[in-house]
Symmetry: C2
Subunit: 303 residues, 2 copies
């Protein structure tokens, strides 16, 4: 999707919140805001939001004294999510449709996102998700599960695009479930190459044991999404080869929504602009199949 003018105030907010997390002084925070402001007039709104957000995050990283300022946050997210894994797996085991439950939990894990809400209490939020009365299943309006099942059945090469650290533990449960159901799938889990916010890196995939169940690759970038022209050859090969792409998070949706590939976007709607773009409500969980344009509208016309 393209960037909306409404994204601009939000970019400044994210830059400022990020600047504080990377430990920038007030003077440095002002410098980051000024530098980002200088870049605004040169920005094309045809670029996707993650492409522009990346400019802001690069300014942050340049002033950060810590190598990876979100490292501790990511490690904590991994620990908390892993600690919850037992309960999550129990829920999958108990459910009538194991794949659906694993899928729902994988989307629910997308609540771990410091780009959108930096003061998120991960543990409390996840507990909410686990509470039976708040099951995400109850409040979805775009959920292409039949298409997901059908595509999964026929797919050979699946590319799974990670989003945030911590969420990786939820992804693992879905991948395990897919592997349990179909032993013939070749799944590849793609993470970011360099730190950007709390996006998962290879070390997060390893911390959650993804590397023990499937192949982990890097997309070669530090963008908070998947900007294909910046991605590594290895990633693009996996991307082009895949006959099913499972894409986690809003950033990946924002950067890949115009692609004509068999992509299933799994995310929580976290901002008004994406709510408008998808026709969903803020906070809603979405499983959106992108194989052909207009499907989302067609789907919603039934409601």
């Amino acid at each position: 999707m393209r960037t909306y003018l409404d994204c601009i105030p939000c970019f400044f907010r994210q830059a400022l919140e990020g600047a504080r997390i990377v430990g920038a002084s007030t003077k440095q925070q002002k410098q980051i805001v000024d530098e980002f402001a200088r870049k605004i007039p040169g920005i094309s709104l045809e670029a996707s939001p993650p492409e522009i957000a990346r400019i802001g995050y690069r300014l942050l990283m340049a002033v950060s004294s810590k190598g990876d300022p979100y490292k501790a946050i990511k490690q904590k997210s991994n620990r908390i999510a892993l600690r919850l894994s037992g309960k999550l797996k129990d829920r999958v085991s108990r459910s009538k449709d194991r794949l659906l439950t694993a899928l729902e939990l994988a989307i629910a894990g997308n609540i771990i996102d410091f780009g959108v809400k930096n003061n998120l209490n991960v543990k409390a939020e996840l507990k909410k998700i686990l509470a039976e009365e708040n099951r995400v299943v109850h409040k979805k309006s775009v959920f292409h599960y039949p298409e997901f099942k059908r595509t999964l059945k026929g797919a050979k090469n699946i590319l799974y695009l990670a989003d945030n650290a911590g969420e990786t533990a939820f992804d693992r449960i879905l991948i395990e479930e897919i592997k349990k159901k179909y032993s013939d799938k070749n799944i590849c889990y793609a993470v970011k190459a360099k730190p950007v916010i709390n996006d998962a890196l290879a070390e997060d995939a390893r911390a959650c044991g993804i590397d023990r169940i499937t192949r982990v690759i890097s997309n070669g970038t530090d963008a908070p999404g998947t900007i294909l022209r910046l991605c590594s050859k290895e990633f693009k090969r996996a991307y082009n080869r895949a006959d099913m792409i499972i894409s986690k998070g809003q950033g990946n949706f924002e950067s890949l929504s115009n692609e004509k590939r068999p992509i299933f976007f799994l995310f929580m709607v976290k901002c008004p602009v994406v709510a408008k773009e998808t026709g969903c409500k803020l906070g809603e969980v979405v499983l959106f199949y992108n194989s052909r344009r207009g499907l989302i509208d067609e789907y919603k016309s039934h409601f």
Copy 2:
């Protein structure tokens, strides 16, 4: 008060929302955002928020094809507020402390603010205020009413700084109540000289009949607050002569909070930055006496 870095994303949001209200095309909206972004690095955070917001609003006015893009909104606010006047006066008449009730209503009228929330449903919001169970009196933490009464009693020249159109009808009730209690007061009602958002102009004061009960002057500026160095000589004379200043709205608080004059700030806390600055919660109503520094902290130490 100075401008916080957190105000910057909000300035962009306001510029964008305002651009839409003035009828700017998407291209013009982008131009406004770009032009405002270009000015950011040159801005000193020592300036008050209304000083910086004024830059944005001037960019809006430059592209506006309508002379006063908020005119219809302001007229509507005046009409709705005037229509409610009877009920408001009844409430004052029925109350044990008429001055207090008139004061509370004058602050409640500050909910009419398109700078902060442009899609405000004025009628619905005012109805809420009028509902007995939501009386503003129940949720205040800084409310210097004893100081207000004492200062009012001894004051001869009172300068009343208007905020928004519509709110003027509420101001009239307070001014009438003051005049009823004390016949010797010389009250002067100051409005903006040129359009800025929905701030009251002389025509709004007239529409609400303020000119029939007291003198109306202009402050000589188009700033969304009171920036003394820009104000007219006439205004500054009234300002310096006043032995009590009743200042309405957050914009006037933001621009005058550092002044050492006997100012009573009456406003609703409408943003997190002002909430932090005052130690109040968002949405809270405040009557804050500024006569000497530290009073707000002293007051709050009792809680």
